[in-house]
């Protein structure tokens, strides 16, 4: 509604065509804003990449950031991974048992963890735990002029603040993903074998046979994109934070919501792309 009602003059009554016109104008306005924002964030990502190549961050800054982003996220990722693995077992057990295929549960659980749930879960936890914190921290730095202070002292804020966070997310998310996968596999296996009483030998043999290195690669490959997207979106939101406590809150929330949406969109696109790649490389797998 930004364009239509900026003046204080009395408006003529809204007719059908006028209302239609206004909706088209609103739609155009939203589209223009979205394209503008997309261009802006792409430019931000490009600057981050350029600075990453131009000058590596200092070792102590990078290590501290990797510790905060990676190591501190490990427990929560491991915990959620375990529970997701067990939940999968609970949900699928009766279905599989109906066909007498409960020893095949491991195949389903492990493949889901490797290909989908491991990377998406690790990325979601990273977006929630780290992404919001980055947006809030950088947002507070923006509104208290600390980012201006950095620039005024001849340090580039993107190089100093964004590059270490970007690199940490990019380098630590594969480990988090592998942790989520591993704990999911362990959780699912534990629940099936010890609680549901599935035969351990068959469960383990089937699990081993059905999962390939490709599946592990599939999940880890996707996670790099998720990590990069989380870092860029969160830093961008922080850098463009509106003034006040409300602005910081909104930056933190929107960084999570946008990261999550982007993770899901990327997940679908990459899954389609990787499947296409797989069947191009190994066409015999189709038959």
């Amino acid at each position: 509604m930004a364009t239509a009602h900026t003046t204080n003059e009395p408006r003529p009554p809204r007719g059908y065509f006028r209302a239609l016109g206004e909706s088209v104008a609103d739609l155009g306005d939203v589209t223009l804003h979205s394209i503008d924002a997309l261009g802006d964030i792409s430019l931000f990502a490009w600057r981050t990449l350029v600075w990453m190549v131009a000058r590596m961050p200092r070792r102590d800054t990078l290590v501290a950031s990797m510790y905060q982003i990676g190591v501190r996220s490990l427990p929560v990722v491991a915990l959620t991974g375990t529970f997701i693995g067990m939940v999968l077992a609970v949900q699928a057990y009766h279905q599989f048992r109906g066909f007498g295929m409960e020893t095949r549960l491991g195949t389903m659980i492990n493949l889901s963890m490797y290909r989908e749930l491991g990377p998406v879960l690790a990325a979601t936890m990273l977006a929630g735990r780290v992404g919001s914190a980055i947006a809030a921290e950088l947002g507070t730095m923006r509104i208290t002029e600390q980012i201006d202070a950095l620039a005024s002292m001849g340090a580039n804020p993107v190089q100093y603040l964004v590059v270490p966070r970007f690199l940490s997310c990019l380098l630590m998310i594969p480990s988090l993903t592998i942790m989520a996968m591993f704990m999911g596999v362990v959780g699912g296996g534990f629940y099936c074998i010890y609680i549901l009483g599935v035969d351990a030998h068959h469960y383990l043999t089937n699990s081993q046979e059905s999962v390939q290195t490709w599946d592990l690669f599939y999940g880890v490959f996707k996670s790099f994109f998720f990590g990069a997207a989380i870092a860029i979106i969160s830093c961008y939101r922080g850098f463009h934070c509106a003034p006040g406590a409300e602005g910081v809150g909104r930056a933190a929330t929107s960084s999570f919501v946008q990261s999550f949406v982007v993770i899901l969109v990327l997940d679908l696109s990459l899954s389609i792309l990787l499947d296409k790649l797989y069947f191009t490389l190994w066409p015999e797998a189709l038959y």
């Binding site: 204080n8 600390q146 201006d148 202070a149 005024s152 002292m153 001849g154």
Partner: protein, 283 residues
């Protein structure tokens, strides 16, 4: 122009030419031109929201200009690449309104930041320099290990000044250096500004609405007026002269500001409100 001291060079170190800054539909600076000769202490005064801080940030390129040019030693900032801009910025020291200290770092690391960042010193050497700079602004070495949140407002401002002085800048930019401080601490800051100017013969640009401070430290006063209350062809700088000239100005807007009197401002505000009320009723 108030180049009161004979040793002040005529060549401007900082220059703004027809600078305009707009935020969306809102225009904050309109065709502002200003020359600051080397060694001068200039105070930019004006009421809140008239664009003083924005003006200060354009000098350093922290605020992009919509049109016009900003020059440092005759070179246009817009022409410089990132590396050159960084080199220029190291010649400036910026004292922020709320000090803008990095709250994740200790005071020592804050003051040492520019030195370490530009690899002018190892961390140990930098701490030695931090010690000296803090002493210059009257802070004991005990504060070095503290975090900014543990310090009072006045101490934070002084740390901000020490950090701005760390690289021995040629130009110091102060954004409301005395705002929010008690009268004694305000005067301490004023004295520090004067002491710094004498000791290092820096050029200083001070943005303030504290007239006591402006009259005490400045060689030259420039008054900005909000664009929204100007006539379309009126210049935004409504006064440019010595502090004495400001005190004797015949322009009501200047003399009232210098004396700190509301004058007709309260009636204007009532009229504005009435106008908004009338137009919304009409709609």
């Amino acid at each position: 122009m108030a180049s009161t001291k004979p040793e002040v060079a005529a060549e401007p170190i900082v220059e703004l030419r027809d600078v305009c800054v707009e935020f969306g539909p809102q225009r904050v600076l309109r065709n502002v031109s200003l020359q600051v000769p080397r060694g001068q202490t200039l105070a930019v005064i004006g009421e809140s929201g008239c664009g003083k801080t924005v003006l200060l940030k354009t000098v350093l390129g922290l605020q992009p200009v919509t049109s016009g040019e900003v020059l440092f030693q005759g070179e246009r900032l817009a022409k410089l690449d990132d590396k050159q801009l960084t080199a220029v910025r190291t010649k400036f020291g910026f004292v922020f309104q709320n000090a803008a200290l990095f709250d994740s770092m200790s005071i020592a690391d804050n003051v040492a930041f520019p030195l370490v960042e530009h690899r002018r010193a190892t961390r140990e050497e930098a701490y030695q320099l931090v010690h000296e700079r803090l002493a210059e602004v009257g802070l004991p070495p005990g504060v070095m290990l503290k975090k900014p949140a543990e310090l009072s407002g006045g101490m934070r401002k002084r740390v901000g000044l020490a950090r701005a002085l760390a690289m021995r800048p040629e130009v110091l930019l102060y954004d409301e250096p005395t705002t929010g401080l008690d009268p004694i601490m305000s005067d301490v800051i004023n004295e520090l500004i004067i002491r710094t100017k004498k000791k290092y013969s820096v050029t200083s640009i001070i943005v303030t609405h504290d007239m006591h401070s402006a009259l005490k430290v400045a060689d030259r006063l420039v008054m900005l007026f909000p664009v929204t209350r100007l006539e379309p062809d009126e210049p935004q700088i409504i006064f440019d002269g010595t502090p004495q000239e400001a005190e004797n100005s015949r322009d009501d807007r200047v003399s009232q500001f210098v004396r700190g009197e509301a004058g007709k401002r309260i009636d204007e505000m009532d009229q504005q409100l009435q106008h908004i009320y009338d137009s919304s009723m009409g709609a």
